[in-house]
């Protein structure tokens, strides 16, 4: 492994938690070549040498290395779980306060928080008199910009979106589909690196943290999960990606019913199994 690659690995680990696979060196180069060319540099060592002193370039490198794929109602089950299990439970638990806070913690181009916003709109009748916050964050400004615009391509707007929702929540603009203002207004997009302190965002009832920790190195994953736990109200819900689990990284959660990717925070009395034990 080249020295430059090792330095890049170290940079990404510290700046975004991302764990770079040594075997994927060729892939890394393919992704970074445009950044190298655009900066007027010749190769990876030159790029790496500039990372410390050039924050704009450093940001571009991070953005080039992160996976942004996402789609509306991704995997369905977590969103159905939100509608049919989480929401009814919260309506009971929070009946006094009448306020619910949701966080989409790596929202990419916005499909995840907008999917939640559409569900809330559909359930609006049960939520009369309630206030529901959706905070959506990502490390990358480029995806946040697209998320805030809420304009999706022909392909993006069809993936995961039932026709009834397309007609109800989107407006056609040339070849693209723009999410309607009433849905857009429900989501508060903010830049936030999960590696940095996020306690200022407050405490949430539900955190969607999907398909991001899967790219993190173990130590970083443990650290983020520990802080996510503190950002979650007692009895709150953590929703993971289809291929993810907290086993070995956090003992603070237990599965919620049948749905393996919906977890709840253990109460104070409940003992957590030792690290590495199945939850």
């Amino acid at each position: 492994m080249s020295q430059a690659f090792a330095a890049l690995q170290n940079f990404l680990l510290k700046s975004s938690g991302l764990s770079l696979d040594r075997e994927k060196q060729y892939l890394v180069e393919a992704r970074l070549n445009p950044v190298i060319a655009q900066a007027g540099l010749n190769n990876l060592p030159e790029l790496v040498a500039r990372l410390e002193t050039d924050p704009t370039l450093a940001k571009k490198v991070t953005e080039a290395m992160t996976v942004n794929e996402t789609f509306f109602f991704r995997d369905r089950a977590p969103f159905e779980g939100f509608r049919k299990a989480i929401l009814p439970e919260l309506l009971e638990i929070r009946a006094q306060r009448r306020r619910i806070r949701l966080w989409s913690a790596a929202c990419s181009t916005g499909q995840e928080p907008y999917s939640l916003a559409m569900i809330l709109d559909e359930e609006a009748r049960r939520l009369v008199g309630w206030s529901v916050d959706i905070v959506a964050t990502d490390i990358a400004e480029s995806v946040l910009k697209r998320a805030r615009e809420g304009v999706y391509s022909h392909f993006e707007a069809q993936r995961g979106v039932p026709m009834s929702h397309l007609v109800r929540y989107f407006t056609k603009r040339k070849d693209q589909w723009a999410i309607n203002q009433n849905i857009k207004a429900r989501v508060d997009f903010r830049q936030q690196n999960l590696m940095s302190d996020f306690s200022h965002l407050g405490v949430f009832d539900v955190i969607f943290c999907r398909n991001v920790l899967i790219y993190f190195a173990p130590e970083q994953k443990r650290d983020v999960l520990a802080r996510l736990t503190r950002a979650l109200a007692p009895g709150g819900y953590l929703v993971l990606g289809a291929a993810e689990s907290v086993i070995g990284y956090s003992g603070e959660f237990k599965p919620h019913g049948e749905n393996r990717v919906i977890l709840t925070r253990r109460g104070p009395g409940e003992t957590a199994p030792a690290r590495g034990a199945a939850v």
Partner: protein, 121 residues
């Protein structure tokens, strides 16, 4: 294996759609217009129909209206698959009893997503 009838006047679209459907584990058959599709469903009702809108002889909407009046005609899931991509067309399709709507050009991800939507994937 579930059966899907692909109704489209373009042989190329039928070929692409068939290939995607077979990759998604469906058994696909073809018809080139609404009239031929009506004959096909009369002899064997498929589980789903991928339906073009603009076709000679009988268009997709007319086919759908006829289909829904047949005995068992309510059973198959009907997914429009058309270049018509405005809210008016989608709404008309929904009112005529379509289950989903694919706007061309499409790809495998979209087809899969829409067949999941109607509970067949």
């Amino acid at each position: 294996m579930k059966n899907v009838l692909v109704v489209d006047d373009s042989p190329m679209i039928r070929r692409i759609a068939k290939k995607i459907l077979e990759e998604l584990n469906f058994k696909a058959s073809e018809a080139e217009d609404g009239q031929k599709a009506l004959a096909a469903v009369a002899s064997a009702m498929p589980d789903a129909i991928l339906l073009d809108w603009n076709m000679p002889v009988m268009d997709g909407l007319e086919f759908l209206v006829n289909l829904r009046q047949m005995p068992n005609g309510a059973a198959p899931k009907v997914l429009f698959c058309t270049t018509e991509s405005d809210v008016k067309h989608i709404t008309r399709a929904m009112q005529a009893g379509a289950d989903e709507y694919i706007m061309k050009p499409f790809n495998k991800q979209i087809v899969k997503s829409k067949f999941e939507e109607v509970g067949l994937c």
